[in-house]
């Protein structure tokens, strides 16, 4: 109980710091880049609930992210719905998609599950490309609402993303430390043994895929207002699939802090590379770092730290 209060307190402080930074009027690029890094904190954390805790590797992150983004596009275009509605609706649609792939785990395990999620992303992108109302393959411009509650619209979105990141990380931390997290770890280690030890594996997997999907959708919902022009190639970008997997792997998949470390380090490196070298360097950096970690520190930075402390 004390742990939860402490975590909420830290979460509150992070949000306060975010609001403080939003009011500090530093170079606007800081908010622009900060938004992307925070968005990756949400994505990496969400991915890790399924990939790290339950051991089901999802290559279809872009599908869930884009479900959030395109749900938002649809609601903006049809109803001019406010941002909180977009976030909740985007999360719900992606969560429903998560529930769907949860049932896939009944028949598909390991690599086959991963391939199915990859295919899901391709299928959904094709659907969106052929859906004229949300812009089709040409894309769609989105007008930001006039007059954000405070600051410029980018600093406002930055603050919103701080809040979403805190919510995502607190959710992951809560799951990890509860009986749900222990059950997920058991089924990750050996699904049949877990089931025979009384763990309701199907129900826990459905929970993990739904929560993971929900949070990925939440990360995507503010995306139309952030970029103001949504088209399938950017919403379904390969970057999301690769980063969602690489960040937790680099940070460490067994704890909530791993994806946060990975997202902040890798996200920052990518943003710096984009300004100093070229935007093409993004995936190159991820690739090199990921290979290095898989070979040298398969348990990520957390595992590395544990090993060093153990000596």
């Amino acid at each position: 109980m004390r742990g939860i209060v402490g975590a909420l307190l830290v979460g509150g402080l992070v949000i306060a710091a975010g609001v403080g930074l939003a009011g500090a009027r530093v170079n606007p690029y800081v908010y622009f880049a900060g938004y992307v890094i925070l968005q990756y904190v949400v994505i990496a954390t969400a991915w890790n609930i399924l990939g790290g805790y339950a051991g089901y590797v999802n290559f279809g992150t872009p599908a869930f992210f884009a479900m959030g983004a395109y749900t938002a596009v649809l609601l903006i275009k049809s109803l001019r719905a406010p941002l909180p509605v977009l976030i909740v609706a985007g999360g719900l649609v992606a969560g429903l998609l998560g529930l769907g792939i949860g049932y896939l785990t009944l028949r598909l395990r390991g690599t086959f599950f991963s391939i199915a999620t990859l295919a899901l992303s391709v299928v959904l992108q094709t659907v969106i490309i052929n859906w004229e109302y949300v812009g089709g393959s040409r894309g769609l411009s989105v007008l930001r609402p006039a007059g954000p509650p405070f600051g410029s619209y980018v600093t406002f979105l930055f603050t919103v993303m701080v809040g979403l990141a805190v919510v995502a990380v607190l959710t992951a931390r809560f799951i990890e430390r509860s009986w749900i997290g222990r059950g997920l770890a058991a089924l990750r280690d050996n699904e049949e043994a877990a089931e025979c030890m009384g763990v309701p594996t199907l129900r826990l997997k459905l929970f993990a895929t739904t929560v993971s999907g929900f949070l990925l959708g939440v990360a995507g919902a503010p995306f139309p207002y952030y970029v103001t022009f949504v088209e399938p190639n950017s919403a379904f970008a390969l970057d999301y699939a690769v980063n969602a997997l690489a960040m937790p792997m680099i940070g460490g998949t067994t704890s909530w802090i791993g994806p946060v470390i990975g997202a902040v380090l890798l996200g920052t490196a990518q943003q710096l590379a984009t300004v100093t070298i070229s935007s093409e360097m993004n995936l190159f950096i991820v690739g090199v770092v990921l290979v290095a970690f898989v070979v040298l520190a398969p348990e990520g930075i957390l595992g590395l730290a544990r090993r060093l402390r153990g000596r």
Binding site: A186, D189, E195, C196, G198
Partner: protein, 238 residues
């Protein structure tokens, strides 16, 4: 049968065109030490997979403790009191020995969140007390088998199915496991032992059923089974 804890009635299991179990019926009394033997491929593990819920029987009925469990998922059966150990140990590799026991205690043993004392007690009783903090990959073969049994015990079962818990162990180690199973039975737990080590099954069981090619070919006390010509034929051929 009066006092039957487990009643298997006409269970059929097919894998494609192959019939692994053909109308197998048997019943196990509460508190009994029951041996299940048969040559390799005779359907022993398939039968207990159907009992524990890892497989669903195609036909027939399985009643445990008065409840029809034929269609229940495995985790529900575990909660009702059916626990098993695996032939090839399947520990939770990322967890310590202690946490391995925490899973069944929490999910099937009705001890949500307060597992420390019970874990220590089970590990002490089975002789793994000093290994509680280790990961399973640091255990020896026999310790791994003991962990399988300890984990099954942590589910607080009424019926424990021990699937070849002694295969590949030395003679002294077999006696060690045998002593543990006898002690658990003394505490009132019904035990089904599947085993190839005849010395162990014969010494342990009060009653034995023999399977061959998916069919039940004999039932009786160890003495009767040893003298049964059908059993001899199944094992040694004509």
């Amino acid at each position: 049968m009066a006092g039957a804890l487990l009643e298997i009635d006409g269970v059929v299991k097919r894998f494609g065109g192959f019939t692994a179990l053909n109308r197998v019926s048997l019943s196990v009394r509460a508190g009994e030490r029951f041996g299940l033997i048969g040559p390799n491929g005779s359907g022993k593990t398939t039968l207990i997979n159907c009992v524990a819920g890892s497989l669903r029987a195609d036909e027939g009925r399985i009643v445990f403790d008065g409840i029809d469990v034929t269609r229940l998922p495995a985790h529900r059966r575990t909660r009702l009191g059916i626990a098993r150990s695996f032939q090839i140990p399947r520990p939770f590799t990322s967890m310590s020995v202690r946490d391995n026991l925490g899973i069944p205690l929490e999910y099937a043993g009705h001890a949500r969140g307060h597992t420390a004392a019970e874990t220590a007690e089970i590990l002490e009783a089975i002789g793994l007390g000093a290994k509680a903090h280790l990961r399973p990959d640091g255990l020896t073969q026999i310790e791994m088998r003991k962990l399988e049994l300890a984990r099954a015990m942590a589910a607080r079962p009424k019926l424990l199915i021990s699937d070849e818990a002694m295969a590949g162990l030395s003679s002294a180690e077999v006696d060690d496991i045998l002593a543990i199973l006898l002690r658990l039975n003394g505490q009132g737990i019904t035990i089904i032992m599947i085993e190839h080590i005849m010395r162990a099954v014969m010494r342990f069981s009060e009653r034995i059923v023999v399977l061959d090619a998916g069919e039940r070919i004999a039932e009786g006390t160890p003495d009767e089974i040893v003298r049964n010509p059908a059993v001899e034929k199944a094992y040694l051929g004509e």
